[in-house]
Amino acid sequence: MKPDLELYDYWPYEKRPKIEWPNGAKVAFWVAPNIEFYEINPPINPKRNPWPRPFPDVNLYSNRDYGNRVGHWRMMEVMDKYNVRGSISLSVALIEHHPEIIKECVDRNWEFFSHGIYNTRYSYEMNEAQERAIMEDSIETVQKATGQRIVGWLAPALTHTERTMDLLAEYQFLYTCDLFQDDQPQPVNVKSGRLISMPYSLEINDIIVYNSYLATPRRYGQMIKDQFDQLYEEGKESGTVMCIPLHAYAVGHPHRMAAFEEALDYITSKEGVWVTTAREIAEYYFENYYDTCAADIAARKGG
C-alpha cells in the first residue's frame, strides 16, 4: 500500500484558466442514473461482502430490484419532461438481464458508461488480467448492444486497484467518475495516454443523501438547488460541472419523485446551463481545455 497514488497534482481552486462551456454556459450539468444489477447469490470477494445478511438477503435484494421494475420508469419520465438525457452508469450484465431498459435509453440517445459487470462483483484483489477482462467485457458488450464505444468508467461499487486509472487510459477511456477532489474536470496522471476526472458526486448522490445523511426528500431537493446555485455563481469565474448521480431504487419511490422533479425544473429553467452528458463534457474539455489546464497545473506545481 502507498500513502498516495498521486493520481493528480495539487491545483488551487483559484486563478485557473477560465473554462467557458458552449454558448457561454457557466455550469455543465449532467445526470447519471446508475442502472445496476445486484446478484442474489454472488461469489464472495475477500474484501467486501455484498449483502449484510446471510444469503438470500431477500429484503435488500428486492429493494435493489425495485429500481429496475418500478423506479427507473418514473425517473426516466421526469427526465424526459425536462429534456435531460442520462449518462448511464451501467452494470454491464444488465444488457442481458433487462434489454427493455437498454432499448429505452438507446432510443433517447442517452450515454452509457461502465459501472462494472455487476454491482456485486468488486475489483478488490483482481489481478491485472482480471481487471482488463472486465474493461474489455464492458467495451465489447455495450458496443454490441448499443453501438456506443464507452468512454467513461465508474468502478463497480467504487472498488479500485492501484492500476485502474492506467488501464482506463490504455483502453482509451476519456474519463473516470471515481475521483472526487474537484468541481471541474482535470487531467489524471496515468502511465500512458490521457484521462480526466469527471466531477460525479458522493454528496448529492441520492444513495448518500438518503442512506447516509438520512435526508428527507424535500431536503434532498433543496440540497440539489443549493449546490447548483453555488456552482453557477462560481461558474461565472470558470465553468463548473454538476452531476446528480441517481439510483432508481432510491429516487424512484413515489414519495421522492416530487422533490427531484422540482430540482430538475429549477436547474433546467436557468439561463447559462449546459444540460449535457459526461461524454460531451469530456470531449469538449479535451478539445478546448485539457492542454491549457495541464500546462497551468505543471506551472503551478509546488506553489
Partner: protein, 308 residues
C-alpha cells in the same frame, strides 16, 4: 492474493432475473388493476405486534428492535411491550375514527401471551398476518431446514387455532428468509408474503423445489414509521409529508396506469406513543379525505387483484 477464476464467471447472466423465484416484469407494462367502487388507491395499513425475548440470539443477526444492552435489557423489553399494551390501543382508536380496516402482522408468541389482542383484532374485523414465532426466531439462509419447518408450522397453526382466522399472509421476522422459507409457508397454506419489496403491486413467487406459487404483496419498507422515524430520525411532520407525497405520486400515476396500492407499515411502540399518535390521526384524516381511496386488508386487496 488474487481472485479465483470463478469470480469472473457469470452462470446466471441471462435474460430476466438471476434466480427462479420470480420473473422479470416492468410495472408500467402490465394490465391496469381495478379496485372496487372505482377506487384508485388501495390503502393497506399494517401494524406489527411483536414479542422481543430478553434472551434472544444475536446470530446470525438481531432483528430491528431487538435487545441492545447486556442481559437483562429491561429498558428495551418494556419499551417494546409498551406498544402491545398502550400504543396499539391508540392506533386502533385512530383507525376506528377514520373507519379503516387493517392487517396486523403478529408473532404467534404474542397471540399466546396476550389472548386479549387476538380477541380485539377479531372484533375489529382486522386480518392477522403470521409473523413467525417471535422476533428472536429468525428465518435465514443456512438455517436447519427441519427447525425452519417447525417454526413456520408453529406460527401459522397457533395463530389459526387462537384466532379462528384463515391466516393467508406471512411476514418473516425482520423480513428475512432462507432459501426454503417460501416452500415452508406454502406447505402451511400461506398465499402471500410481505418480505419482497421489489414492486408497488403484487407479483407471483415460485416456492423452491416445485412447491407451487404464492404472491408477494408490496408491504412497504419505506413508508414505515420504523424506517422514517427510527432509522432516518425524521420528525413527525416529515413523516406525514412523505405519506402525502407517496399518495399524491401513486394517485397521479393511477390515472394512466390503473389502481395502485399504498402501504403504510406501523409499529405500536413507535407511532403509538403519546406525543406521536396525533400525527397519525392527521395523516389518516388527510388520506381519507382524498378521492378514490379504498382502505382494506392485504387479503382483500390481493383477492381483488387476483379476480381480474
Amino acid at each position: 492474493m488474487t481472485l479465483p477464476k470463478e469470480y469472473l464467471e457469470y452462470p446466471m447472466r441471462r435474460y430476466g432475473m438471476d434466480q427462479d423465484i420470480y420473473e422479470w416484469s416492468i410495472l408500467f407494462k402490465r394490465p391496469k388493476a381495478k379496485w372496487p367502487n372505482g377506487a384508485r388507491v388501495a390503502l393497506w395499513i399494517t401494524t406489527d405486534l411483536e414479542f422481543f425475548p430478553l434472551d434472544h440470539p444475536t446470530k446470525p443477526f438481531k432483528a430491528p428492535g431487538g435487545m441492545v444492552t447486556p442481559y437483562p435489557d429491561l429498558r428495551h423489553f418494556t419499551t417494546r411491550d409498551y406498544g402491545n399494551r398502550v400504543g396499539i390501543q391508540r392506533i386502533w382508536k385512530v383507525l376506528d375514527k377514520h373507519k379503516i380496516k387493517s392487517s396486523v402482522a403478529m408473532n404467534s408468541k404474542v397471540a399466546e401471551r396476550y389472548p386479549y389482542l387476538v380477541k380485539k383484532i377479531n372484533e375489529r374485523g382486522d386480518e392477522i398476518i403470521a409473523m413467525g414465532v417471535d422476533q428472536g426466531k429468525l428465518h435465514y439462509g443456512g438455517m436447519d431446514d427441519a427447525v425452519e419447518a417447525a417454526q413456520v408450522k408453529e406460527s401459522v397453526e397457533t395463530l389459526r387455532k387462537l384466532s379462528g382466522q384463515p391466516v393467508a399472509g406471512w411476514l418473516s421476522p425482520a423480513k428475512s428468509e432462507s432459501w426454503k422459507t417460501l416452500k415452508h409457508v406454502k406447505a402451511n397454506g400461506i398465499d402471500y408474503v410481505c418480505d419482497w419489496v421489489a414492486d408497488d403491486m403484487p407479483f407471483e413467487l415460485n416456492a423452491p423445489d416445485g412447491a407451487g406459487k404464492l404472491w408477494a404483496m408490496p408491504h412497504s419498507s419505506e413508508i414505515s414509521d420504523r424506517k422514517i422515524i427510527i432509522d432516518n430520525k425524521h420528525s413527525e411532520d416529515e413523516f406525514i409529508e412523505q405519506i402525502k407525497d407517496q399518495f399524491t405520486g401513486l394517485y397521479k400515476e393511477s390515472a394512466k396506469h390503473g389502481g395502485r396500492i399504498m402501504s403504510i407499515a406501523l409499529t405500536p411502540y413507535v407511532t403509538g406513543l403519546h406525543y406521536r399518535i396525533k400525527y397519525l390521526d392527521q395523516a389518516l384524516g388527510w388520506l381519507m379525505k382524498q378521492k378514490h381511496v379504498w382502505p382494506a386488508t392485504g387479503a382483500e386487496i390481493l383477492a381483488a387483484f387476483k379476480s381480474q
